[in-house]
Symmetry: C2
Subunit: 369 residues, 2 copies
């Protein structure tokens, strides 16, 4: 194999496939990037769950392929001068990387035992902007949780029905939902995508509003296709949690509050909580004023916030982190928070329900109040 390409193009392509390189593996081949030059210069990496392939603009002087240690290859390319790079391999799978007056020689592997990415049948194509995909991942990923016994919680539900995509993530204490309107209508699709895949996709998506992502689904896999890149991931198996019973529209108390003030106030209060002692913050809703209180071994704080209230007064306790995570990814200046009572989940949603965040309260004994 012999190819030439620009350092910067090669670097950005290597950077993309690096996301699928296994960090902890006993199979040395999974620490490699496969470089192939037949019709085009293609890079592939896979950790068996997730596979990424992408193309590099360049010239093929001699077709062939080689598997190279991903980290070393990335570091070498990164530190080369910003100039034309030539990569040439010999029959012993040694790769010679030349750039200006610099010449590296490293050992590779034949690449014959490199796992190919699964072929994903391109049936229904769901078409979204890169911006939208990057956003809904950011706005939901924080409530996934890595846990062997509740594997499905490490993923997110993608539910498509008609021209509507619903993205859901949850752990034992909260549910995060984003609703996206699609340009076309589709048959029902319901899959659970691993959180790690979504994190990686989010990192390599440039995220332009005008740029597209095509998403394809099979029973076992999801395929994201954008620019010159394909990301294939296994889906999580099993039926996702039934959340509809948690999604009431009833409430006894509804408040409108400035999002930034609310978030900053909880953030300050959380200073007085050590990870270990799980003290709740306590919210007093009283007419058009909210008072936020915390009383811990470290100290105490209270702060008043202006709100607009409908319904009953209320005293309720929360783990501050859960409220902050949700408020941080809401872009509205004002938010509406709905409460039922001291023990029922509260929810934050906008009028069109483009988002809904459900948060369970913390039980507060009367001595806390």
């Amino acid at each position: 194999m012999k190819i030439t390409c620009s350092k910067s193009e090669l670097l950005s392509s290597v950077n993309i496939v690096m996301k699928a390189v296994s960090n902890k593996t006993t199979l040395p081949i999974l620490e490699c990037i496969l470089m192939e030059s037949n019709d085009a210069i293609k890079l592939t990496a896979t950790d068996m769950e997730l596979g990424i392939e992408t193309y590099v603009n360049g010239t093929i002087l001699e077709p062939g392929k080689i598997a190279i240690d991903a980290k070393l290859f990335f570091e070498i390319i990164r530190k080369l001068p910003d100039s034309e790079v030539t990569i040439e391999t010999n029959e012993n799978y040694q790769a010679v990387i030349k750039c200006e007056k610099s010449k590296f020689t490293i050992s590779g592997k034949s690449g014959d035992d490199f796992s190919l990415l699964p072929e994903v049948e391109r049936n229904q194509k769901v078409h979204l902007s890169q911006f939208t995909v990057k956003e809904f991942i950011r706005q939901t990923i924080f409530s996934t949780v890595e846990n062997e016994s509740t594997k499905l919680m490490s993923g997110e539900l993608f539910e498509i029905e008609g021209n509507h995509l619903k993205v859901v993530s949850l752990d034992g204490h909260r549910i995060s939902i984003r609703n996206v309107e699609l340009k076309e209508s589709y048959d029902l699709i319901k899959v659970v995508v691993p959180g790690k895949t979504l994190n990686d996709v989010s990192k390599i998506l440039p995220g332009g509003v005008e740029d597209d992502v095509d998403i394809y689904f099979t029973d076992k896999h999801i395929l994201f296709e954008f620019d010159d890149t394909k990301v294939v991931s296994r889906l999580l198996e099993g039926e996702y949690y039934k959340i509809n019973q948690m999604l009431t529209n009833d409430y006894e108390t509804k408040i409108n509050i400035n999002k930034k003030e609310f978030l900053d106030c909880i953030d300050r209060a959380s200073l007085l909580i050590k990870e270990s002692d799980r003290k709740p913050i306590i919210i007093y809703i009283n007419n058009n004023e909210m008072t936020l209180k915390i009383d811990s071994a470290i100290g105490s704080m209270n702060e008043e916030l202006e709100i607009h209230k409908e319904g009953k007064d209320l005293i309720i306790g929360f783990n501050p982190k859960l409220l902050m995570d949700a408020l941080r990814v809401i872009d509205d200046e004002e938010v509406q928070v709905y409460f039922m009572n001291q023990k029922a989940p509260c929810y934050i949603k906008d009028n069109d329900e483009t988002y809904r965040y459900v948060v369970l309260p913390v039980n507060i004994s009367t001595t806390n109040v």
Copy 2:
């Protein structure tokens, strides 16, 4: 005690004294900041080696003092709204911190057992620009080394003679020297300043070219005074290493080389070296060309660089990190490197000798070459 001041002024003052707060101590009082309001609002922190005091612009409503946990205080102030802050203490040493509608109550200490900073007699004042001090610290600090058995290596020699300041740091493999011309003339001063102190001073110095630092010396202490801040540090005791015999001006080979190209080339080569195996890079000087080679278990590299040479050809080996550390802090576009032979230290210096970096070579067996 009762004071008011702006959040931003308070935060930047707390940030300054935080540098002297002990991270690991068995004395809880050393984890505190002392806040005093008599003629002015003063903050003090000390870890017994290093002490910092600074002032906050504000209004004193009631004089007094209190010692408050530094980290907690810093975090609270940081997260307050950008507005006026009031701090009030009561007879139980509780501090109430108010800002807009937010109110924190935390426990403090009387501050009576807080260690005062040592009084430093203000005899000779050495006057420098903040920029100069920050620069010579950055340009020498990397070759200090923390080691119990060679305590003096953790500090830097400050040697003032006439209108000339020499700053020296060294470890077993290299010497870094910066020479600074002073505006006035002084009697001989020769002290060793702890590296940690210099690191901290460098962090809190704003570093303006027009802004000043006054430095005072006693037998035991050094005092830096700038803006509203005083930094007092103990000096290291003992006589510093005699380095003059290492500072020859003789050479057999002298090269001129582009600094950036040289640095980038060594940086690339160092990719092929694992921390553990201590492979040297090997430099071949041959007429007006330098070839840099490395051959390790990971792979091999060679690269040619244009140089201008005077004197003999040479083959010599180096630990790449030592060369890179020195080249990184030299701002010249071209550097001059002087060699004696394969076993003698090389040195990099400019014509006026504002800097000199001495680096020991690594012994290379003939099989390496």
